[in-house]
């Protein structure tokens, strides 16, 4: 852990100095939220959500992102039982029909079993948030369930742009990241 953190610090310093962009590919979402400006979440070979790190952490729009966030026990606060995500990642050779996440999704609708949702801007997303999610819950035909409809405090505020999470970074460089679950049962990292 200490060594990992030191290597990451080194990388981030290099980024500041040389101004390049970093793409982290990892399943360690809790680390990404600290390090990345923007995060792309993949499931079963597809991008399912893309958002600023803070936005993703505070107000995920895709049930898989929500499930991933609930898979990392916190370092502080009260200890509460957490459930992770039921079931297990599908095999890439036998992807479920429709939304590939539907067998594990607590919010699945009828159409999730047959139609694949496209990556799109959530219909009720406040203006100014740059965000994409591939989920039928976000197509505007229904209100998404509470945990997937959290609004950030600064949503209403004028001038809060998509870069609010990274506004303090002086360099033009950005770190983006991709978090992804296993796609085949048994594939190890």
């Amino acid at each position: 852990m200490v060594t990992q953190r030191e290597i990451l610090e080194e990388l981030m310093q290099l980024r500041e100095r040389l101004g390049f962009a970093i793409i982290f590919i990892t399943h360690d979402l809790s680390l990404l939220i600290e390090l990345a400006d923007s995060i792309a979440v993949m499931y079963a070979g597809r991008l399912v959500e893309r958002a600023g790190a803070t936005e993703l952490f505070r107000s995920p729009r895709h049930p898989y992102s929500l499930g991933l966030l609930n898979s990392f026990p916190a370092l502080h606060g009260e200890r509460v039982r957490m459930e992770g995500i039921p079931g297990s990642p599908p095999s890439l050779t036998a992807l479920p029909q429709g939304c590939a996440f539907h067998p594990r999704c607590a919010f699945a609708l009828d159409r999730c079993r047959t139609d694949t949702p496209r990556l799109a801007r959530p219909q009720r997303e406040p203006a100014g948030r740059e965000r994409l999610a591939a989920c039928w819950l976000q197509d505007g035909r229904q209100s998404p369930p509470g945990p997937l409809a959290v609004r950030l405090n600064d949503d209403a505020g004028p001038g809060t742009g998509p870069a609010s999470a990274s506004a303090s970074a002086p360099a033009p460089a950005s770190a983006s990241a991709s978090a992804s679950g296993d796609t085949t049962p048994g594939s190890a990292r």
Partner: protein
Amino acid sequence: MTPTSGGAAATDRPADTAAPVVHGPRRPGVPVLEARRLTKHFPVSQFGPASRRQVVHAVEDISLALPRGTVTAVVGESGSGKSTLARLLTQLITPTSGELLLNGELVGSDGRSRREYTRQVHLVLQDPFSSLNSVHSVRYHLERPLKLHRRSGRGELTAKTLELLERVSLSPAADFIDKYPHELSGGQRQRVAIARGLAVEPKVLLADEPVSMLDVSIRLGVLNLLDELRSREQLAVLYVTHDIASARYLADTVVVMYAGEVVESGPAAQITDAPAHPYTQLLLNAAPDPGRTEPPVLRGRGSPPSLVNPPGGCRFHPRCPFAMAVCAESRPPAFSVAADQVAACWLHRPGDPEKNAPGPAADTAGDVPRAAEPEPGPAPAPSTNK
């Protein structure tokens, strides 16, 4: 989560007194498994006669008690001796010195007591892929130990196998009993491996990084299973991990290892909320924390020392930002720092003026090793480049 209390049987005894500090949850009665002053030195096989007597000091003088119905987490970086400790506790390897007690009785070395020990103390390995044989079904894997252990008849076997699957939440069990390992996900395989261990009705489960090779989304399921085995079946569980957040989640007591030694132990939430040892503080600052607003400041950078020639005194002293003269000279004993919490660090010597000192200056505020510190929050960062 049910657990609340736990910690080390703390003492204020100075280093030279004989009785060692026993780490682990404190519960009334005799612990199922107790390790006294376990030490393991691996011989280093190298060329040349000069190095013939060199050894790796992998585990140094660790005493641990595992009561029934508790989870003890052993946390440390790679190479800190966690697996060696777990293997010593399974008797897979022989200690250089120290002894094991099962239900309060010294474990003998004859075949019979070894077999009894192996039955009662089960090791769950990190890799659920290699621990099952791909040519055999789930049924085969579970019936074998059932037959050997309980000499169950044909008729009962299926019923008992189904029951085992239900106990590890592979449900409905009938859907799993005739599957082969390749038809199962990593988490399901780890459950089968655990079920196989349960077949012989062990009292102690030693789990060495049981989720580190599993997909993130299914790790909690396996941790929750360990939690249930603790509360429902009253097993004594040792959970070995490098992930201090998961240790906090699951364990009654957290034991922190550095370079083969225990540096701190105590009730899980207390260790993470008020770490007393500089190394525990470093480990926590390095751990991922999405709630963090500033990059953490690491105090004590560097890597663990060679265990062939570990540093004298406190093994952490070459890295420690608080090191004093005494730290290089003598090994700090485990001092009591709070209820059930001990830290092997000279800063916590009773009566030591430095113990409760507010620290050298305000700029180190976050990390002054005080036991009563409510929040180990990171010190203000000199520069923030997120």
